[in-house]
């Protein structure tokens, strides 16, 4: 064990320093695997606690109620919100084994492989954003002019490549979600923009809040320009080009698809403010490391 590493990390014994793709030094137990799954060690956890405490303070002004949503999304629910229309490439489905006994027999006989042929049809998909479950939970309900919810969810995205803590397979999102009338939701989103600007500054981060365009559109094309003229998504982007947070206006899409109604019978509007927690760990660490 080298003296330098022990002194720096105070770690329990692993003496290799893992530097993830974005430059964060995950010395000690913390590391990010090539398949986009991360182990967070004591140093990363300490940073995460500090960051989440900051988020809690920024969010406290909203008077949001804390909820926890189901860990999986059913295939039917995903279909109801056009998930497979829009994001089929991101989805990771969940299936049990069609014949567990047969798989066990094979494994005991020395063939431990599990293949697609062994799986039953998928019943669930892993959430790629944290707020979907809220709309299913509010299905068929009449809601008041404005309600704010806050939640924290484990999210998963199948990507073509992963990059340290900035682009993970499994990551964590803190969200504040507004459900209600159009003006009330838009007002929340304007406040959310301000929270993002001032919050980033408080953590010593230089980041820009800007309208985002669908990555499927060519950035210089007419479609992307049209989206910039009528933005429904704003992102807080670091000087390394990483989107740390986003504020999204869903209009009444989820209200309509999930039968969430206002008192006048119209579909409710929704919008959300989301933070990718591991990206903040990466960015704050970078800012503090000379």
């Amino acid at each position: 064990m080298s003296t330098t590493q022990t002194a720096r990390t105070g770690s329990t014994g692993l003496d290799r320093a893992e530097i993830d793709g974005a430059g964060i030094d995950m010395a000690g137990i913390g590391r990010v695997r090539a398949d986009g799954l991360a182990v967070l060690g004591p140093a990363e956890i300490a940073l995460r606690k500090e960051i989440e405490a900051e988020f809690a303070e920024w969010i406290s002004g909203f008077g949001a109620v804390e909820v926890e949503l189901p860990r999986l999304i059913s295939i039917d629910d995903a279909a109801a919100i056009d998930y497979f229309h829009n994001f089929p490439q991101l989805g990771l489905t969940v299936s049990g084994l069609a014949e567990p006994d047969a798989v066990a027999r094979r494994a005991k006989a020395g063939d431990p492989e599990v293949t697609a042929a062994d799986l039953e049809a998928p019943r669930y998909v892993l959430p790629s954003a944290a707020c979907y479950g809220l709309y299913f939970a509010l299905r068929g309900i009449q809601v008041p002019e404005i309600t704010l919810y806050t939640l924290r969810g484990n999210c998963f995205r199948r990507e073509t490549h992963y990059t340290g803590l900035d682009r993970l397979l499994g990551f964590t999102m803190r969200e504040v979600v507004a459900v209600g009338g159009r003006d009330a939701v838009e007002e929340f989103l304007i406040s959310a923009h301000q929270v993002l600007r001032t919050g980033a500054r408080r953590l010593g981060i230089e980041a820009d809040l800007r309208p985002a365009t669908d990555p499927f559109f060519e950035p210089d094309g007419a479609r992307a320009k049209m989206q910039r003229l009528f933005p429904v998504k704003h992102e807080l982007v670091s000087d390394r080009g990483v989107a740390l947070a986003s504020a999204n206006f869903h209009r009444n899409f989820f209200g309509d698809r999930c039968g969430i109604r206002l008192s006048d019978g119209e579909s409710a509007y929704t919008g959300c403010l989301g933070f990718g927690i591991e990206r903040w760990i990466s960015e704050v660490h970078r800012r503090r490391t000379p």
Binding site: A222, R223, A224, M226, Q227
Partner: protein
């Protein structure tokens, strides 16, 4: 075949049946008759009608402010 602002009006009303008042000079941006998500779709429809892809430099708020301005900018040869 040439198209007019009335074809655009039909497209908008089909997707926004609750709209009561929409004529050639209604400000569709200010009134939010066409919502932010629909503007990209409207642009795709305009491309269908005029038979070509629009350039980024042609896409601006004033060209899409009213159905008449869309007609003038893209549908009249």
């Amino acid at each position: 075949m040439s198209y007019s602002w009335e074809d655009l009006r039909t497209w908008v009303i089909e997707r926004n049946p609750e709209v009561a008042q929409l004529d050639a000079d209604t400000d569709i941006i200010e009134t939010r008759i066409v919502n932010s998500l629909q503007f990209v779709e409207l642009m795709l429809y305009v491309e269908e009608l005029c038979g070509r892809e629009l350039g980024a430099d042609e896409v601006n708020l004033e060209a899409f402010r009213t159905l008449r301005s869309i007609e003038k900018s893209f549908l009249v040869s």
